[in-house]
């Protein structure tokens, strides 16, 4: 075990897979010489050379078009979209091409590619550079959607995404890049589609993703210590495939579901979890489902305003205290 930052774990995961498999290539804007705008890919150019680690022009469509073509012709590309907001620029290639190719070719062509992107708020980047858009990806059939909360998961899930035969959207949380955590040494591969129970409680089950996992854990500690409310915290980790078995069984244990998501309210991923819970474990629910989300607004860049919109530890504590008996 070594203590790595979340951003170091990105580079470690990419390096592990590039060492293992020559077909793995990496491309994006400022990813090579500059080591990435978030410094998450430092050292890869030096290690693997300009043929396998490429800086691209500022064209998201070009980056994903190239990645798609490379995947079609036998490589296993990792493409970076600098800010997840920019997925909108190349969404046709993601939603209509990459997601559909396996189906429309009857499986003759598969696209083993990974799109990494920096997601979410917390860095005061304003409405066009701070969105949490994992829910956009979740609603497109044909792509897998992963969003790790811990450095170890970054490495393990990134490796699993590269090895997956189909396209994976890999959401890295901007606000977590500097967090540190233990990461297994050597080759480390996790499994896509498995949620993780981080804390076991008896009064309610908090289901969270990425940065909200950490806020939920902090909130759960306060709720337990100061208010006698004991919470289970589940890190979803992967929205597609979704580990409904773990999520539903944890909901059934406490009878109460709280989702904590950074998505704006309407059609955030928590709504889907709430819907599944209502469908599949209604008779285990002991009270209304509670969704804690960002409001349905474009995000402000002012620090205080941004802090006021994204679910905070205090807000999670308050809402759970108000809503859970």
């Amino acid at each position: 075990m070594a203590e790595l930052t979340y951003r170091d774990a990105v580079a470690a995961g990419i390096a592990q897979e590039m060492e293992r498999d020559e077909r793995v290539v990496f491309l994006g804007e400022d990813v090579a010489a500059a080591g990435g705008v978030f410094k998450a890919t430092v050292g890869l150019l030096e290690k693997f050379g300009p043929k396998r680690v490429r800086d691209c022009p500022i064209s998201e469509q070009a980056i994903l078009g190239a990645a798609m073509g490379a995947a079609m012709t036998g490589l296993r590309p990792i493409a970076e979209i600098m800010f997840s907001d920019f997925l909108a620029v190349c969404w046709d290639i993601v939603a209509n091409e990459i997601a559909k190719t396996r189906y429309m070719t009857n499986g003759q062509i598969t696209l083993p590619l990974v799109i990494r992107t920096a997601n979410g708020a917390g860095s005061r980047f304003g409405a066009q550079h701070s969105q949490a858009v994992e829910n956009w990806a979740m609603m497109i059939p044909g792509i897998k959607v992963v969003a790790p909360a811990f450095p170890a998961d970054v490495k393990g899930l990134l490796a699993a995404a590269v090895r997956d035969p189909d396209p994976v959207l890999f959401f890295e949380q901007k606000s977590l890049y500097s967090m540190k955590g233990e990461v297994p040494d050597g080759e480390y591969v996790d499994e896509l589609g498995k949620a993780r129970v981080l804390r076991q409680g008896k009064d309610c089950t908090i289901v969270a993703l990425a940065s909200m996992v950490h806020k939920s854990l902090d909130a759960a500690a306060i709720l337990e210590k100061e208010h006698g409310i004991s919470c289970t915290v589940v890190d979803v980790r992967s929205l597609v495939p979704l580990d409904t078995q773990t999520i539903l069984s944890e909901i059934a244990k406490t009878g109460r579901l709280v989702t904590v998501e950074e998505n704006p309210r309407l059609c955030g991923w928590g709504a889907e979890i709430a819907s599944i819970a209502a469908d599949e474990c209604f008779w285990s629910l002991d009270g209304p489902i509670l969704r804690i989300t960002t409001p349905h607004i474009p995000l402000p860049s002012a620090d205080r305003l941004e802090d006021a919109t994204i679910p905070s530890v205090e807000r999670i504590v308050r809402e759970i205290r108000e809503k859970i008996d």
Partner: protein
């Protein structure tokens, strides 16, 4: 399929199977009479829910079963004979979950979805899905479970704690063999004999205890001069009886007067719900009916304020007759917003009635008797002989105060004394 003890009325928790029309091996058609059930509220015939063969009868005649308990099994045509190990199924959850219900604010507001109306007390009475399921699975009476959640809501932990406690007491499960019901009549009782409570008696006992121990009752009494009502009865009573086939009593007059007075004093036509009082849009008058000394039932006349005096008279008579013969429908016992009880026939002077919670008041009318009354006139006072009745109202002091309740009684008295009642009968 399993045939279960149905939910017959919102407050009903159990029933006695009094007769099976089929025996094991008999073919039965859907909607054909299958068995009779007697509850504390009604006796009724239950039709078969499906066509098939009665493959099992699990509850003998005369045995009490909780709502939701399995009574028999019908093997449907084409269905394989399968072992009947299914527990009291979750499909009963709706029915059972709905027990212990009387009209609440939400109930009146959400009248469009009657089958699972909320219980009266605690958290505006909503039961969560898991509580409903547990209640159905264990055939529990939610009225017995103390809610510790917000606003007294019953939580899953409350139910499991209740089940654990009950398990320790070694209490009975789904079908409880009862001492052969119906219970012997009190007249037949011999001194020293111990009589098991009939379902009606048991329910009356529960409800009365709950109200008496949890509601601060205040009794107020006024006398009212019934001479205008007496006059109307004298003029129209004979023709009425000939035409309608039953006597015109004081009760419909009082009901009519009540509906007018309650319209002006809406806080007495209300439901008390712990942290709020919900004034009711409809005035639904419960009428306490004695079951020939075998218990008490309170059929409800809905929307009294929309009904004429003759209409009220007919409905009260109809409900009383059917109550005594056990032919009331479950929905005729629910949604009351105010209750009237009448012991006048036995010559009582004052009865202090117990409030039918979560309503906030109840009126008792006692005997109307001729009395000397001082009439104040412009030429001085004079004595007259007038039929005088006593109106005794118990109100919930949590909901209203004495002045308001007294003002209401004065209004009621004024209506009784001054309305041109004969005109109500001519219309």
């Amino acid at each position: 399929m399993d045939v279960i003890m149905p939910q017959l009325g919102e407050t009903v928790a159990e029933g006695v199977v009094t007769k099976w029309y089929k025996k094991v091996g008999d073919a039965v058609k859907a909607d054909e009479m299958l068995f009779d059930v007697e509850t504390d509220k009604v006796s009724t015939e239950i039709p078969a829910p499906a066509t098939g063969v009665v493959s099992e009868i699990l509850v003998e005649e005369g045995v009490t079963a909780k709502v939701g308990a399995r009574l028999c099994v019908i093997r449907e045509e084409g269905a394989p004979a399968r072992p009947t190990v299914a527990p009291v199924a979750a499909v009963t959850a709706d029915a059972t979950g709905a027990q212990r219900i009387s009209p609440t604010a939400e109930h009146i507001a959400e009248i469009a979805k009657p089958p699972t109306t909320p219980p009266a007390d605690g958290a505006q009475g909503r039961l969560s899905p898991v509580v409903r399921k547990l209640v159905a699975e264990h055939a529990l009476d939610v009225g017995q479970i103390r809610g510790t959640g917000r606003d007294g809501r019953i939580t899953r932990d409350d139910v499991t704690a209740y089940i654990d406690a009950r398990g320790q007491q070694g209490a009975a499960q789904a079908a409880v063999p009862a001492a052969s019901a119906p219970a012997a009549s009190p007249q037949a009782g011999v001194a020293g004999q111990s009589l098991p409570l009939s379902p009606v008696r048991k329910r009356v006992a529960e409800n009365m205890t709950k109200s008496w121990t949890s509601v601060p009752h205040v009794l107020q009494v006024v006398e009212a001069d019934f001479h205008r009502i007496e006059q109307a009865r004298r003029e129209h009573g004979a023709a009425w009886k000939e035409r309608e086939g039953f006597s015109l009593t004081y009760l419909p007059f009082v009901a009519r007067a009540l509906s007018i007075a309650l319209g002006r004093y809406p806080k007495l036509n209300a439901i008390f719900g712990g942290d709020r009082i919900t004034l009711q849009r409809r005035i639904n008058l419960g009428i306490a009916v004695d079951m020939n000394f075998e218990g008490l039932m309170v059929p409800v006349i809905k929307d009294v304020s929309n009904k004429s005096l003759p209409q009220l008279a007919r409905e009260i008579n109809d409900l009383a007759v059917r109550a005594r013969s056990g032919k009331l429908k479950p929905d005729e016992l629910t949604e009351g917003t105010y209750t009237i009880t009448n012991n006048g026939a036995y010559g009582t002077v004052i009865t202090a009635p117990i409030i039918n919670t979560p309503q906030v008041a109840i009126l008792s009318t006692d005997g109307v008797r001729k009395k000397p009354v001082v009439i104040e006139g412009p030429d001085g006072d004079s004595l007259a002989i007038r039929p005088v009745g006593v109106l005794a109202q118990s109100f919930d002091h949590r909901a209203v105060d004495g002045a308001y309740a007294a003002a209401f009684l004065r209004e009621l008295k004024l209506i009784i004394e001054t309305r041109l009642w004969a005109q109500d009968l001519q219309s």
